[in-house]
């Protein structure tokens, strides 16, 4: 077990634990920045990972740190996307100002919805955000003059300071810059008193209230912050997809975002990024597997004769080409994670790290889940 020897209080304020950790993050950043030269073929997927990372970050602040579950965050992504496209294309506002305006519109909507919704406890809040998202989706469909309605709306490539980002590489770097600044701001927010207040609210609202934390203020702040970040992500997402239609911002997308924070690991910024990598790259992995898996099965069962091999290969092929398979796999992964690894990928990573740092002394029971009775939230 290695521990950091602290010689001054200011060391506790640092962004990183020690110099080694900072250097490793620098290496990671350099690696990510050289991605356009290393793996140019996969840039399209990587920029989606970065945008989803921003979404995951936004939801992590809300779900992982404040304990408010939103089932309708795709609505804020949509608000950000549509308002950015409206400001920059229809009104001709410069790109950066337009993104800032989009973030502000999303945040304002968030606060407006949050004001009444935050009076409600846990589950009701989730349902209220779900209802809000469904209404917003209908608004996207009906408000033709701004959103283009069901016909959709084309999005041009971003033009920043007169420089048009036609290629994927500069757009990737733009997304990377947004994600890193998002991470930096969020990390600063969370290690400040604000962040500790949010975590106190998550762990016990009543305890937080009794030590003098203004519940309504902090909840609305968290919701507004989360919505604003979703707005920025929405602006980038609009350029990414290139075409906006109301059915992109469905409840299913909101659920994918939640899947991201759950699979990544609630309550850690690493988790948001891990989750984003997972959710953005899974469809790519599935579509690759669709082509290769039947062949593998054919080869394995080819041992029992060529005919069996072909038959099995054809059967597996028919199975994996079913259109409904992908959401089912998402659901299955979600269920398995919640049942067997509720701390997500980051939790698994922390356990592996602890195992090696304690090497011969690691105990299985360290992370064992406690058995518990149903805890009533009804009051009588």
């Amino acid at each position: 077990m290695r521990s950091v020897f602290k010689t001054s209080y200011y060391q506790d304020f640092g962004l990183f634990r020690n110099r080694t950790q900072r250097d490793w993050y620098l290496v990671l950043m350099l690696g990510l920045m050289s991605m356009p030269f290393l793996l140019p073929a996969y840039l399209v997927d990587f920029s989606l990972v970065l945008i989803f990372g921003l979404c995951g970050l936004s939801l992590m602040v809300l779900v992982g740190y404040t304990g408010l579950v939103s089932l309708g965050h795709a609505a804020f992504l949509g608000i950000g996307a549509y308002s950015h496209v409206y400001f920059s294309q229809d009104l001709g506002v410069p790109w950066i100002v337009s993104v800032a305006l989009a973030a502000m519109v999303a945040a304002a909507t968030g606060v407006l919805v949050g004001l009444p919704a935050l009076r409600m406890a846990g589950l009701y809040f989730a349902i209220a955000t779900l209802a809000f998202a469904l209404i917003i989706q209908e608004v996207f469909t009906r408000w033709d003059s701004i959103t283009g309605g069901l016909k959709g709306k084309m999005v041009e490539r971003p033009v920043i300071f007169g420089y048009a980002l036609h290629d994927e590489a500069p757009f990737y770097l733009l997304c990377l810059g947004c994600l890193i600044s998002g991470l930096w701001i969020t990390r600063n927010l969370l290690r400040a008193p604000t962040g500790r207040a949010l975590m106190a609210i998550r762990d016990s609202e009543i305890a937080a209230q009794s030590i003098g934390i203004n519940l309504a203020f902090y909840k609305i702040m968290a919701f507004g912050y989360s919505a604003a970040m979703m707005g920025v992500a929405g602006a980038l997402f609009a350029h990414k997809v290139g075409f906006l239609a109301p059915d992109i911002f469905s409840v299913l997308l909101s659920i994918q975002f939640l899947l991201m924070v759950v699979v990544g690991g609630l309550g850690s910024l690493h988790g948001a990024i891990f989750g984003a990598i997972f959710v953005a790259l899974l469809p790519v992995a599935i579509s690759t597997a669709r082509d290769s898996v039947p062949e593998w099965f054919g080869q394995i069962f080819g041992v029992f004769g060529t005919d069996t091999g072909f038959a099995v290969s054809a059967a597996v092929d028919r199975f994996v080409k079913q259109p409904g398979l992908e959401p089912g796999i998402f659901g299955l992964i979600l269920v398995l994670f919640i049942l067997f690894e509720p701390q997500g990928i980051y939790g698994r990573w922390a356990k592996i790290k602890l195992y090696f740092s304690l090497f011969p002394l690691y105990k299985q029971a360290t992370f064992k889940r406690q058995k518990s009775y149903m805890k009533s939230e009804r009051f009588r």
Partner: protein, 290 residues
Amino acid sequence: MDVVLQLLLNGLAVGCIYGLVALGFVLIYKATELVNFAQGDLMMLGAFTCYMFVVWYGIGYWPAFALAVVTLAIFGALLDRVILRRVIGQPQFTVVMLTIGLGAIFRSFASMTWGSEVYTLPTPFSAQQTMIWGVSVSHEYISIIVGTMILCAVLYAFFTRTRLGVAMQATSQNQLAAYYMGIPVKLVFSMIWAISAGVSTVAGVLLAPISLIDTNLGFIGVKAFAAAVLGGFGSIPGALVGGITIGLIEMFSGAYLPLGFKDVAAYAVLLIVLVVRPQGMFGTVGRKRV
């Protein structure tokens, strides 16, 4: 006047469906404090199962109906036994995500087993009409209203008259005390899931003639959710009244408000109710004791 009456009857029928699905939510919530977001998808599975028995295997409508209810009830009990029992006592968010995941699996399973086409379920009431107060009402709508009434009467009798029903009430009031009194709480939980899945199957089969069966039938669950909240989550009569209210509001807003309001009316009402009276029409709410 005729139009109003027609809308009233249609709204009542659709509302009964919402009410039945909401009843499924409420039963599970009352007993186990789990919120089942997969309720609508259970309904979809029920409708498909009945369709399979009727059209693929050529069983008559009534035996197929009964078989579907029994199949789904067993499935519900297994679901509780194998998966959901593990998360009792975990935070509510865990359960919400778990059931959302289950719902996705059910939809995927349905589209792989029965295909992603749209089906109609042939019933004995198809294409028949009766005149009531000068309005022609198709038998499908009447079957929904009558079916709901019968089911509610049966459930009411079950919960107040039978030993198991009373045991279920006791379990939902206090799990630990029920254990001390010798009630097999685990079995009761499974039974509650079975009943809830059975009730949503009835809803699905009754709904099938007026709304066609496809894999997205489960999204009715969201509106049923609105109904459950409107009635005050945890109140059985509240769920039915909430469902009928949502159904009526939807029908009338579809007829008298501009296009697009019909689809969001239920959610708008839900938001207003949550703001004005978060405990719903019949619910009680208080602060958690520390």
